[in-house]
């Protein structure tokens, strides 16, 4: 037999015991050819394009899942930034477009569709302003639509007017979905250096430089990495890194196989494999647990940033050899509400917002799925965004925030978002004001590192 007995049992064990899965197969789709000045026609074009191109998405993914025996958790769609697609439309009825996107996602059977987005790192167009202003309404009247706004980049600096605006948008979105603990904000990401080929929600959109349509794959497997560490006790960091690299290689190869096959069957380009470790609220499927297995009492204690840096680097190095199509966010995720280990660490008082911020400087993506007190001001939210954007801008990496100011809830209470979004204790923020800083507006200029030519 080409593959030996133990290797086969290792794979079966990874899938059955350690929850190895493909986290998402995302069909990334250009909508630029849908543009029309007549609102009804634009909506019709968008609906037809999505439902025609993605009509076989679920069936194809289900077939692959069965053929290879690899669970594929999410099937999703990313579309061109709607701010650009709707800009020339009379009246810019963005609410109707959001509903059209929601209906198209429902029709083809995907749980999330990303791309209700604007890229404003340097400044706003009229289409960008309309879209950003419509986000709270759009996210409250739809179930599946996800939104993202890129407010900063290493090349352009930080658009602090956009940062200020997003503080208000996040507050309003939370308020409009207050009956579900502000869940609208779980579908809204603020980015620095947003990748154009990210398969993961809520930040996926189809970039302007992308092909007509592509399949992008998000791999996962925190449980597999954790077991590999558990089964090799007492290793020094060099050897530990080696174990993680080897495991990451294997995980990524599964993504490569699924990506190639899915692209072929759907008749679209094979896009990228996102080398990410994405946790879920399922027990054992946790990035925090991996860090703790390295010898930390809790995720969040001193040493956590170093542990995460090692993990992140080793995952990328192992994955890089397994596919020639790396892209997306590629790094460990630390979405608090979706990771039971993170939730436990916050409840134990071991993990703070400050430590999370430090962790985001060595992994992808940022302050993700963090529940903050409902009475947090818009300016404080903007200031958290500004800090996070500056980490991305200076370090030439993607950073993001997905903050949920949970209406009516205070530090220590728990927010529940349901399903894969999980739930999280409300985390403590600084009590001091950043208002005068945020009110300045303007743009934080691009860093020295932007001048690479």
């Amino acid at each position: 037999m080409l593959i030996n007995h133990n290797e086969i049992l290792e794979t079966v064990n990874m899938l059955r015991q350690e929850k190895l899965d493909i986290r998402t197969v995302t069909l990334s789709l250009n909508l630029r050819d849908c543009q029309d000045s007549r609102p009804a026609k634009l909506q019709h074009n968008i609906y037809s394009k999505i439902t025609n191109t993605a009509k076989n998405l679920i069936a194809v993914v289900d077939e692959l899942e069965s053929k290879y025996g690899v669970p594929i958790i999410n099937k999703r769609i990313a579309v061109s930034p709607i701010s650009a697609i709707a800009e020339g439309c009379k009246g810019k009825d963005l609410r109707s477009i959001a509903i059209t996107l929601d209906e198209a996602a429902d029709k083809v059977g995907v749980d999330f569709l990303g791309g209700y987005s604007a890229l404003v790192q340097k400044g706003f167009t009229s289409g960008d302003v309309s879209l950003i202003d419509s986000i709270p309404d759009a996210l409250s009247v739809t179930e599946r639509v996800c939104s993202s706004v890129n407010v900063a980049s290493t090349k352009a600096g930080i658009n602090m007017d956009a940062v200020k605006k997003m503080g208000g948008v996040i507050k309003e979105t939370a308020e409009m979905t207050r009956d579900q603990d502000g869940v609208g904000c779980a579908k809204l990401v603020v980015f620095c250096n947003a990748p154009e080929d990210n398969p993961f929600m809520a930040g996926a959109y189809h970039g302007i430089g992308e092909a007509e349509a592509a399949v992008n794959i998000g791999i996962s497997g925190p449980g597999v990495i954790r077991s590999a560490i558990e089964n090799s006790p007492g290793l020094d960091f060099t050897s530990l890194s080696e174990i993680i690299k080897k495991t990451s290689f294997k995980i990524t190869r599964v993504g490569e196989l699924i990506g190639r096959e899915a692209a072929k069957r759907l008749g679209v380009t094979m896009g990228i494999i996102d080398l990410s470790l994405a946790p879920t609220p399922t027990a054992g499927d946790s990035v925090a647990l991996i860090l703790e297995k390295m010898g930390l009492e809790y995720c969040g204690c001193h040493g956590t940033t170093a542990a995460l840096a090692l993990l992140n680097e080793a995952v990328k190095k192992g994955g890089l050899f397994a596919t020639s199509s790396t892209g997306g966010l590629s790094g460990s995720f630390i979405p608090v509400s979706e990771d039971l280990g993170m939730v436990k660490a916050i409840k134990a008082g071991a993990l703070s917002i400050d430590k999370l911020e430090a962790m985001t400087s060595v992994c992808s993506v940022g302050l993700d799925m963090i529940a903050v007190p409902g009475d947090t001001t818009a300016e404080t939210i903007s200031a958290i965004i500004a800090d996070e954007m500056s980490i991305g801008m200076i370090n030439d990496k993607t950073t993001a925030t997905r903050l949920i100011p949970v209406p009516g809830k205070k530090v220590g209470e728990v927010a529940n978002f349901g399903g894969l979004l999980g739930g999280a204790p409300i985390i403590k923020l600084s009590d001091h004001s950043s208002k005068d800083f945020i009110d300045r507006g303007g743009r934080i200029p691009a860093p020295i590192r932007s001048l690479t030519n």
Binding site: M1, L2, I3, H5, E7, I8, L9, T11, V12, L15, R16, S66, K67, Y68, G69, V70, K250, R253, V254, E256, L257, F321
Partner: protein, 91 residues
């Protein structure tokens, strides 16, 4: 891509496992090309490389049939296309 699957069987050792699983495969014109088995602490594991080019049923149906057989014998049986193992373990 080839049409070969890997069937794995795991569980408490008992008489007739090989006969029952291979019988189910033979009944559906699936050809066993290679087989290996080990017994460790009373836990039986068997792996079969099976060609399904001439199979009478689709891979999904075969999978369901073997899953049901596994439930009956209190064994964990998995059916996966061989490429997933080749991709994961060979460059």
């Amino acid at each position: 891509m080839s049409s070969k699957i890997i069937v794995t069987v795991l569980g408490k050792d008992q008489s007739g496992i090989v006969a029952k699983v291979s019988g189910a495969l033979a009944n559906n014109s699936c050809n066993i090309e290679d087989i290996s088995q080990t017994l460790m602490d009373d836990i039986f594991s068997m792996i079969m490389l099976v060609a399904i080019d001439e199979a009478k049923i689709k891979i999904d149906e075969l999978k369901n049939l073997l899953l049901k057989l596994g439930e009956k014998l209190n064994l964990k049986i998995t059916v996966q296309h061989e490429d997933v193992f080749r991709f994961m373990h060979r460059v």
